[in-house]
């Protein structure tokens, strides 16, 4: 063996490139173990991301339902909200109705940019023998901007004669499909009860807004609606202020103005979206706690899963740890090998879990248009940090223990080690 006597250049510190190769060999050649560990870590990350996205989606859905009006909008309801009462009567049957004249007066206030009255009713809508019971909204042109309603084709209610009755209608997209079945609807005459209305516009599909299915409504000028349903009072009066800072001032002015117009009796309720939202604050807070709770529980479960898998897989290799030490590896090097291994698989698995959860959310968001699922950034960051941190910690603990105890025991050699 004379040739072997040539001395070797050794640094007595394993090169990082060799560490990477060594660790990759462990992961590539013990595939079953790698796959199991990979799945455990990825599931942990996916669970956290999906569950928090679910909670966050529910929360933002509730918020968006009440966000439709915008912060610049004041809503006037007929009737005074009592201190201990619930909501004011929604029928508009208060002693003194909120009238179109009130609306005109409000629109003249300096801080008010625009107003939109609303009269509601259900009526039979028919065209060429097809009949449907439908929700009719009587309002004005400004109503569309206030409620973020967009036309698919045709035009809005006429601007001229804002408070005059004209026999024109804008209809929802599904109503159009059902009554006209693909034929052009614009210019056709619809029958609402006993009156005839010409279709001048079709809305874009927008789904349910604030409790109303806007795809099935008929929107007509407010005066036409008043005569159609034979009512004087308005169901609601929407007013948009010029500047958000004036909201409270304008609100006071409106209450004063209407009080004056109603013979000194304060018989209307004016609310802003912020006021509505603040009454919802408790619900939103609860939802926030729920999301955090969901995140915490899913992280706990994921963490325990990762912890167990790591402890088991590293503990199974106590003999290898003993052997590496017998071959000249220091405890520090053994720890480095196991940490590198755990870090590599945890990083790959966490990354793939993260990407997979985004894919699932993308598909879910395509499928459900009403509700959007987004995992909050802190949950995403926490899920990845948790996967990495726990993997490293629970690889380090057993590796540490094994590297300080194992060599002697593992290498007693009395129990024949199976070589597979």
């Amino acid at each position: 063996m004379g040739d072997l006597e040539r001395s070797l250049t050794a640094s007595f510190m394993m090169a990082w490139a060799d560490t990477f190769i060594f660790v990759s060999q462990v992961l590539m050649r013990q595939r079953f173990r790698t796959v199991v560990l990979w799945v455990a870590i990825a599931i942990g990350v996916i669970a956290v991301n999906l569950l928090t996205a679910l909670g966050e989606g529910a929360k933002s859905y509730v918020l968006s339902e009440f966000n439709v009006l915008g912060r610049h909008t004041l809503i006037t309801l007929p009737g005074k909200k009592e201190t201990r009462g619930g909501m004011p009567p929604i029928t508009g049957e208060s002693p003194r109705a909120l009238t179109l004249k009130d609306a005109q007066a409000v629109s003249r206030l300096s801080g008010v940019k625009t107003v939109a009255p609303l009269v509601l009713g259900n009526i039979e809508v028919s065209y060429a023998g097809k009949i449907r019971e439908s929700l009719v909204m009587g309002s004005s042109r400004s109503f569309f901007a206030l409620r973020h309603l967009v036309l698919a084709r045709g035009q809005l209610l006429p601007e001229r004669g804002r408070f005059k009755g004209e026999a024109v209608a804008v209809i929802g997209s599904r109503l159009r499909d059902e009554l006209f079945a693909g034929k052009p609807a614009l210019g056709e005459w619809l029958r609402l009860g006993d009156s005839r209305f010409r279709v001048i516009g079709v809305l874009k599909t927008s789904g349910t807004r604030f409790g109303f299915d806007m795809d099935e409504v008929v929107i007509i000028p407010v005066v036409s609606a008043q005569s159609l349903f034979n009512v004087d009072g308005l169901f609601r009066l929407f007013a948009e202020v010029r500047h958000f800072s004036q909201l409270d001032t304008v609100k006071q002015q409106m209450v004063e103005l209407l009080k004056q117009r109603h013979e000194g009796e304060e018989d209307v309720t004016v609310i802003s979206q912020d006021a509505m939202l603040s009454s919802l604050q408790k619900i939103l807070d609860t939802l926030t706690y729920a999301v955090s709770g969901i995140a915490a529980v899913s992280m706990l479960v994921a963490g325990i899963l990762i912890m167990n898998m790591m402890i088991i897989t590293v503990s199974q290799r106590r003999k290898e740890i003993g052997l590496l030490k017998a071959l000249g590896a220091s405890s520090a090097l053994v720890r480095r090998l196991f940490l590198a291994e755990a870090g590599l698989i945890a990083a790959l698995a966490a990354l793939s879990g993260w990407m997979l959860s985004h894919l699932v959310l993308l598909l879910a968001n395509n499928y459900f248009s009403d509700i959007q699922f987004h995992s909050p950034w802190w949950a995403q960051a926490a899920s990845i940090a948790l996967a990495l941190g726990l993997s490293l910690l629970f690889a380090w603990l057993p590796a540490q223990r094994a590297s300080s105890l194992a060599p002697v025991q593992a290498l007693q050699g009395k129990t024949a080690q199976a070589q597979r």
Binding site: D3, L4, L8, G328, S330, L333, L411, G413, Q419, R420
Partner: protein, 224 residues
């Protein structure tokens, strides 16, 4: 090369302390061929672990090439082990996922030997061990004799001064056992210190010097 002075090693078993090594003193010179013999439980494996720096004595001195190893930290002892000591085990202890070549390469990888040097060294060694054709096989595809040759290759690849062999032929049939013994003895002939731990009288008798252990003590050194 090695000097042991009054080594003590106790293990806590339940409430009792079992004295695995009791006042062991021993000198091993460079190039020696030594057999440590005795029944199981006599302390010979403990002695081997201490000689191989895998375990530390509770008391006494261990001088390796004049260095008192008890005073070294763990990293230094690992480095000494890497440089000076090779292990051969009864059940081979090869890494199952690595090929024969990679198993032999492992000590060099751990010690940070540059890749080019490693490949050169491996080619020579596989040739010498007659394993060139089996180099890409995993341990599970090798016979017992081949596995032990791989393990010996791994033990000597760092050119250690001393080879510690614990029942190296214990799992082998007589033919491959004899081949392995021949290989170890030829390495000894080339200058390596060979310490054989065995309870096989026939194998032990081949060594130039025998030490018998019983109850943690060295009993007799007939050729000493």
């Amino acid at each position: 090369m090695i000097e042991l002075r009054g080594l003590q090693k106790g293990f806590q078993v339940g409430e009792q302390v079992v004295q695995a090594l009791d006042e062991v003193s021993l000198t091993i010179s460079a190039g020696e061929y030594l057999a440590i013999m005795g029944p199981s439980g006599s302390g010979k494996s403990t002695l081997m672990n201490i000689l191989g720096l895998l375990d530390q004595a509770s008391a006494g001195e261990y001088l390796l090439d004049g260095v008192n190893v008890n005073q070294l930290n763990e990293a230094k002892r690992s480095q000494l082990r890497s440089e000076k000591i090779g292990f051969v085990f009864q059940s081979y202890h090869l890494v199952p996922r690595l090929t024969a070549r990679e198993n032999i390469e492992l000590p060099m990888v751990l010690a940070g030997v540059p890749p080019r040097l490693r490949q050169q060294k491996l080619d020579e060694l596989l040739e010498k061990l007659n394993l060139s054709e089996r180099a890409q096989h995993r341990p599970s595809q090798l016979s017992g004799g081949q596995r032990q040759r791989v393990a010996i290759g791994r033990a000597i690849v760092m050119r250690p001064r001393m080879l510690l062999a614990d029942e190296p032929t214990g799992n082998l049939d007589s033919t491959s056992g004899a081949a392995v013994t021949d290989l170890l003895e030829s390495l000894n002939a080339d200058g390596i210190t060979l310490v054989l731990v065995t309870h096989d009288q026939a194998l032990g008798a081949r060594a130039r010097r025998q030490i018998n252990m019983f109850d943690g003590r060295l009993r007799a050194e007939p050729n000493g």
